[in-house]
């Protein structure tokens, strides 16, 4: 028999087991399969782990990774500094190789950490209830749109054009299934904030929710309170948030937002080429029964000791089947753990310090750029750590030159926004050292 380190059966085991079952060969176990079919697996033979590692390392080395570059690119995934302790804890096998906490008594670790995670997300967003994660920011927005339709029984959602283009696409995909209309409204070309007049014109009886960014995809911080003030009562306000920005920005829950969603990757998760991160999802408590995903709640055990359990499982597919609030089963629990450890390490002061540094660095670059020739910042609205710059020259060419200097330059926006030709979305976080910023500015001055 072929030896395999992950399959323990010896020939003797197999013989004894077959005997106990009362059959004579392994093939007998598959006798009920149609025999005339091609079952050959034309894939490479097994390899030892050292060879596989070498192959994978060769592939990995064909990429240029972020640690080899000065990074000024965000657009939904943001490289931040990650304390060593985060992954040291989050990759423990008790977390890695457990499953959904169906047996609560032997899953108290999972349940408690997700309860703590929900608390932290609730703190950041200023909303009472957070679930224990969805797939990513985009699908979280899509689920929020579907949830608003369940709350309001109106079949249209309005999404601002300044929300991440891929999030808008995913929302359209989800809404396509149930024939829910997704319409967009514009952003102000001067400030980069919501075009309130356009929004007001599109509001009508059929609208269940309005979605805006905080900050939006163009980096600009919306005035959520003002947006809320133009919405007729009952229409839900959804904001797509950057959780790191919430360290310094007034929480959306305090500004009239009903559902906050976002990509959780910035909270201590590796960029991983865009996944896995996680979708964060929080809302006002009155909507909890319409929420998608798992929610953990506190209770007691038979001895009266505090313990944690999944709550309102009757919303979920494994109980409710076709009447469930969503089809989601697997979520991104491990990534929620990473975020929980990260926030526990950074703490109240640390997260604010990270926010301040991101802000300071980005504003410094913008200030320097104001005196440079060949480019100018586009929007006048307030921003956090990301802003749009328009270049006089061809941005693709500029980025190619920057890459030769191992700089990952601003994200070209023209493929998402034809009107923003040669505009780049530039980002810094606390992970970009000051010397990289000076190096970047110096190279920009040369190139332009």
């Amino acid at each position: 028999m072929h030896r395999n380190p992950y399959i323990p059966h010896s020939e003797k085991d197999v013989e004894e087991m077959l005997k106990a079952i009362g059959i004579s060969s392994v093939e007998d176990l598959f006798a009920d399969l149609p025999s005339e079919m091609n079952s050959d697996l034309n894939i490479p033979d097994a390899k030892d782990e050292y060879s596989v590692y070498r192959d994978l390392k060769t592939l990995a080395n064909r990429n240029i990774n972020l640690n080899e570059m000065a990074v000024f690119r965000g657009g939904g995934i943001y490289p931040h500094l990650i304390p060593s302790v985060v992954y040291a804890l989050a990759t423990r096998h008790e977390f890695l190789t457990a499953y959904t906490p169906y047996q609560a008594e032997v899953s108290q670790g999972t349940l408690q950490l997700l309860f703590e995670f929900q608390t932290l997300i609730s703190e950041l967003t200023g909303l009472e209830v957070a679930n224990s994660s969805l797939y990513d920011g985009a699908s979280a927005l899509a689920e929020a749109a579907l949830m608003s339709v369940k709350v309001n029984r109106k079949e249209k959602v309005l999404v601002c054009e300044s929300i991440h283009p891929e999030y808008r696409d995913v929302t359209r995909t989800y809404c396509y299934g149930q024939n829910i209309e997704v319409d967009t409204f514009g952003y102000d070309k001067e400030t980069g904030q919501v075009d309130l007049e356009d929004l007001k014109n599109k509001l009508n009886e059929e609208v269940s929710a309005v979605a805006v960014g905080y900050p939006n995809f163009l980096g600009v911080i919306e005035d959520l309170k003002e947006i809320k003030s133009v919405l007729p009562k009952g229409i839900l306000l959804i904001s797509v948030v950057n959780p790191i920005a919430l360290s310094i920005l007034e929480p959306p829950g305090n500004l009239g937002v009903d559902i906050a969603v976002g990509e959780g990757q910035p909270l201590g998760n590796l960029p991983n080429m865009g996944g896995p991160g996680f979708g964060l999802f929080a809302s006002r408590k009155e909507y909890i029964r319409k929420m998608p995903g798992r929610i953990i709640g506190e209770t007691v055990d038979l001895d009266g000791n505090t313990a944690y359990a999944m709550v309102l499982q009757t919303r979920e597919q494994h109980i409710r089947r076709d009447k469930a609030t969503s089809n989601i089963c697997s979520n991104q629990a491990l990534n929620a753990l990473v975020a929980t450890v990260y926030m526990s390490v950074l703490g109240r002061e640390g997260l604010v310090e990270v926010g301040r540094r991101c802000f300071d660095k980005a504003h410094y670059i913008q200030e320097r750029m104001k005196t440079m020739d060949g480019l100018h910042p586009v929007f006048s609205g307030p921003f956090f750590h990301e802003f749009v710059v328009q270049f006089d020259g061809d941005l693709e060419k500029i980025n190619k030159k920057l890459l030769e200097h191992k700089i990952l330059g601003p994200l070209s926006l023209s493929r998402f926004y034809p009107e923003l030709e040669n505009c780049g979305l530039l980002c810094t976080t606390e992970a970009v050292p000051n010397e990289d910023i000076e190096f970047f500015i110096a190279r920009m001055e040369e190139i332009l």
Partner: protein, 484 residues
């Protein structure tokens, strides 16, 4: 104790690089009404506080590495440690999705190769690796069904057939794609009732969702006939890949007649389950449906890989970027380690394990369905109630005291007091013998000390929970106790 109760003001576990600020203070640059008044109340701990806390939590979990975890339909197999090592390589983990594709060639090649491997294993023609989990793949698949009929201008198909033994995600996903559910009953043999199905195959049906082997662990032996009858009426056949671990190298969904497949890489291909995620749920289709797959797709030309969104018929994007890439690296690693022989052996030994454990356990608790099963099987817990005066739940809870995980319980819904058991190929004969011995002991305990069994668990640190209280009080976050 929660992390919040460990907090003590003035402690900190973080450091940041020692560098000068440029002097752009929030207070000077932002309007006051945008500034946060009260800091988010995160805990203030030392690094060791944090380490002790999460170590303590870790120790409260059961996991595959710790002990047997035979949850039915979850394929809790051992996850080779190399998976973690490769996926955390800097060249994979520290990549930005919006880097130029010229700097992502290694990743794109890996994804391209993985798509081809999955095509070969399942007999499909094209894959998208974008869906983030099984249910996400199901939704993508059902949206492909919807788009397919829209393209054909066939607007009358409003229903999807799902067996009564199906996973809950199947009907939930079909509903999210806008379909009504028609349930087809299982026959007394535990498989789809052909005659019953025939009555349902009407012109308003868009698709049939099946998993084969089904959730009872039984192979749908009429699958080719089902496919023929469905296709005759233009109905698409959807394969839920949750149970693929039973048939690798034995038969392919594509050969059985399935048009659309989703896989669960975290089950079959050993990327860890991570307490319920991240998973990965690639969706595969036959050639005629390929243009409907989610975008972007990976395209190869002259040895160079690019991402293309140029598919006008696509259902669109399912999530941002390209899927749970880190999970894809793990699955690719696993397939490379196993090779064709290894994957076939995995399925053979998974099925052998299931039949062996069934032969042991069914001497004590009757099997739901007789005969050879595939990678999992269902026991009928009715006898526990009548003969042993306990419920399936009691047996499950008492198993915890012995350091093993119970099976999936009370599912599938069509079996009374069901126990659904999946002992993956990575478990040894000794482990299965031991599990059977434990069950035997517990059944004896029901005679000697029934109350003890009914109030289990006793030794895992937490007793049975008051779940009603949890859902009634809905305390879903920690709050500081008000000073009295």
């Amino acid at each position: 104790m929660t992390i919040f109760e460990r907090s003590s003001d003035g402690r900190s576990a973080y450091t940041l690089p020692d560098e000068d600020s440029h002097g752009f203070a929030l207070e000077d640059c932002l309007p006051e009404h945008l500034l946060r008044k009260d800091k988010a109340d995160l805990p203030e701990c030392s690094e060791l506080d944090v380490v002790r806390h999460f170590t303590e939590l870790a120790e409260k979990n059961h996991s595959v590495d710790k002990g047997f975890y035979p949850l039915g339909s979850c394929t809790m197999k051992y996850n080779p440690k190399l998976n973690e090592k490769t996926s955390s390589l800097e060249g994979f983990a520290y990549l930005h999705p919006y880097q130029p594709t010229s700097t992502l060639q290694g990743s794109l090649e890996l994804m391209f190769r993985l798509e081809k491997l999955l095509c070969e294993i399942t007999g499909m023609d094209s894959y998208s690796l974008q869906p983030a989990a099984g249910a996400h793949g199901e939704l993508a698949g059902m949206l492909i069904v919807k788009k397919h009929f829209e393209k054909l201008n066939d607007t009358g198909r409003t229903r999807v057939i799902v067996p009564d033994s199906a996973h809950g995600t199947n009907p939930a996903s079909a509903v999210m794609a806008g379909y009504e559910i028609v349930e087809v009953e299982s026959s007394s043999e535990g498989i789809v009732d052909l005659d019953g199905l025939d009555d349902l195959l009407k012109e308003d049906v868009a698709a049939i969702m099946l998993t084969n082997p089904n959730t009872l662990g039984l192979f749908e032996k009429h699958i080719c006939e089902i496919a023929r009858r469905a296709h005759e009426k233009g109905i698409l056949l959807y394969y839920d890949g949750a149970n693929l671990n039973a048939i690798m190298g034995k038969i392919k969904p594509g050969e059985m007649g399935f048009d659309i497949v989703h896989l669960n890489l975290h089950k079959t291909f050993s990327t860890p389950h991570g307490m319920g995620g991240p998973g990965s749920g690639p969706v595969g289709v036959k050639e005629s449906l390929a243009d409907l797959l989610p975008v972007p797709r990976i395209v190869e030309g002259d040895g160079e890989y690019t991402l293309s969104e140029d598919y006008p018929d696509t259902i669109g994007r399912m999530r941002s970027f390209y899927g749970n890439f880190g999970v894809l690296v793990r699955a690719y690693t696993y397939i490379s380690l196993m090779g064709s022989q290894g994957l076939r052996l995995a399925s053979e030994m998974a099925v052998l394990n299931a039949n062996y454990l069934k032969s042991l356990l069914s001497k004590m608790i009757p099997e739901g369905y007789p005969g050879i099963c595939k990678h999992e099987f269902v026991l009928d817990g009715g006898k526990l109630v009548t003969d042993y005066k306990i419920k399936t739940l009691d047996l499950a809870k008492r198993l915890l005291d012995y350091g093993v995980h119970p099976p999936t319980i009370y599912f599938p819904l069509i079996v009374n007091e069901a126990l659904m058991i999946e002992p993956p190929e990575t478990e040894s004969k000794e482990t299965l013998d031991g599990y059977s011995e434990i069950v035997k002991k517990i059944l004896q305990e029901t005679k000697d000390d029934p109350e003890m069994v009914k109030s289990a668990p006793h030794t895992v640190g937490t007793r049975r929970l008051n779940e009603a209280l949890a859902s009634r009080q809905l305390k879903t976050r920690w709050k500081k106790e008000k000073a009295t």
